[in-house]
Symmetry: C2
Subunit: 265 residues, 2 copies
DNA sequence: ATAATAGTGTCTTTAAGACAATATTAC
DNA sequence: GTAATATTGTCTTAAAGACACTATTAT
């Protein structure tokens, strides 16, 4: 038992200490002699799938890499954690987001983490995937570091036209799947709209995301029943009957409907 | 622009190469000279919250650490990714699970990733959190590497009695929250039962998890309507009327009810 | 027969879904 | 007025929830 107590992969630093006869006696001593860089740690990155709707179709923010590997290929914005500047993972995600768009997103959520031996040619790597929702209105795209170009690209059937670096096509699918699932029982889709919007605009986002027709009266009642939409007092004027403008109450993103939209499932 | 193209934190290895005048010309050349260990990468671990029900109460598997830091403290089973042996994150989670219990779990799901500067005294660290569900029946607990003791511990109000290492109390809460949420619209709770079970046993798990009374007739219909429970033909005999035994169909874990249990929300 | 648990029947309520009808604007 | 979109009304359906009732076993 004792001989296999420390597995090879588990604590290289500890093992090294043991082999050198330097078994630390206290936690303080252990930490003082501990060097995190000697660990066999995977590469760790954060990637952000930023969605918006432009002219009634779903778009995602892509950047063109200007570094190896996958130089000149398009990818989701993302990169390494800044061990000095980033206090936690969310900070990394928000930094990446702001770096490319110049603004904060009204909604940001962690999707999950993908890690494997083969997903990055440099070695074992994992990436913590986020998705963000924002209106494309005030955004001024900036290439920032690591990218030569930034652009919104339309998403169709869970894909963009471009071939993406790494496993980012898979990541995009995962993020979209999460968003589509949540569209069935939350108000998240609204966060791709500017702060003020009409009910029809909001319902149209659901139509785009779920790729199915949605009954306007039903959806209107479903949304209003939550009491998380407040009238701004303003109207959207057009060639036809003006529509009331609404905004979300603060807790709207947390709301969970008791019943899912059934739709085409 | 060019001067701030490569942020300090982003590509130390690349920066080093640039400073040394070794700008690689091709991806192959770049990869050949690439040394992942020179990266400033966070510590990366995988932790698994393994739930079961023993004598009608929710239990979680804990291990007592026999290594620094937090030596002798209880914690969730987990540890470093084996860059050689583990092909992906799920493999690490399954390995940790099997290492302590000797069996595979009928259900394993990634909850999310927590990472920050301060959660580990050794430095910036992130952990990918999983939760697993299993029957405690056939399990033979084994301390395995890194632990001096392994034991099931009852969970009450989202807590165990023991003080846990690192931020594992928080991780336990996160995993439990996910499980409780899913109990409202999935059949996952059943995966803490042995392969064959009665409907009343299954409903009782929901009661334990959701900490509220659940109408037996309602729940029975809700479960049976899915057609994902098949009768085994056997009966559980007791002092009273025998109960039919059921097992899950293969896809039962994926099933999502259109409507949530409302309960005490 | 009684106790105890397994299992069925029935009624109410709520929200989704379908679709008809009305309201308000520009022209 | 018409066209177009916003908004309201009404009916159906399905499942949750509540609770009364029946069924089957051991004693």
């Amino acid at each position: 038992m004792t001989s296999c107590m420390i597995a090879d992969s588990e604590w290289p630093q500890f093992r090294r200490n043991v082999l050198m006869g330097k078994l630390p006696a206290s936690e303080a001593e252990f930490l003082a002699s501990y060097d995190p860089k000697k660990f066999d740690a995977p590469l760790a990155t954060v990637d952000v799938t930023i969605f918006t709707v432009i002219n009634g179709s779903l778009n995602v923010l892509l950047v063109r890499r200007n570094e190896f590997p996958y130089m000149d290929k398009w990818s989701l914005p993302g990169g390494f954690i800044d061990l000095v500047g980033d206090n936690d993972l969310n900070a990394t995600a928000m930094r990446k987001l702001k770096d490319k768009t110049g603004v904060d997103a009204p909604y940001l959520e962690q999707v999950g983490t993908v890690g494997s031996k083969g997903r990055d040619p440099r070695g074992w790597s994992l990436t913590v995937l986020y998705f963000a929702l924002m209106s494309s209105e005030k955004v001024r795209l900036r290439a920032g570091s690591g990218a030569s170009e930034v652009a919104w690209r339309p998403v169709q059937n869970g894909q963009v036209e471009e071939v993406l670096a790494f496993d980012h096509e898979e990541l995009l699918k995962k993020a979209l799947e999460r968003l589509q699932n949540k569209a069935r029982y939350t108000m998240l889709p609204g966060y791709v709209l500017p702060e003020e919007f009409t009910l029809t605009e909001l319902i149209n986002i659901y139509r785009v995301l779920l790729e199915e027709d949605i009954d306007n009266p039903m959806m209107r009642r479903r949304l209003l029943r939550t009491n998380l939409l407040e009238e701004t007092g303003g109207f959207r004027e057009g060639d036809t009957r003006p529509a009331k403008l609404y905004r979300f109450a603060r807790e709207a993103a947390q709301h969970v409907f008791e019943r899912n939209l059934e739709g085409g499932r």
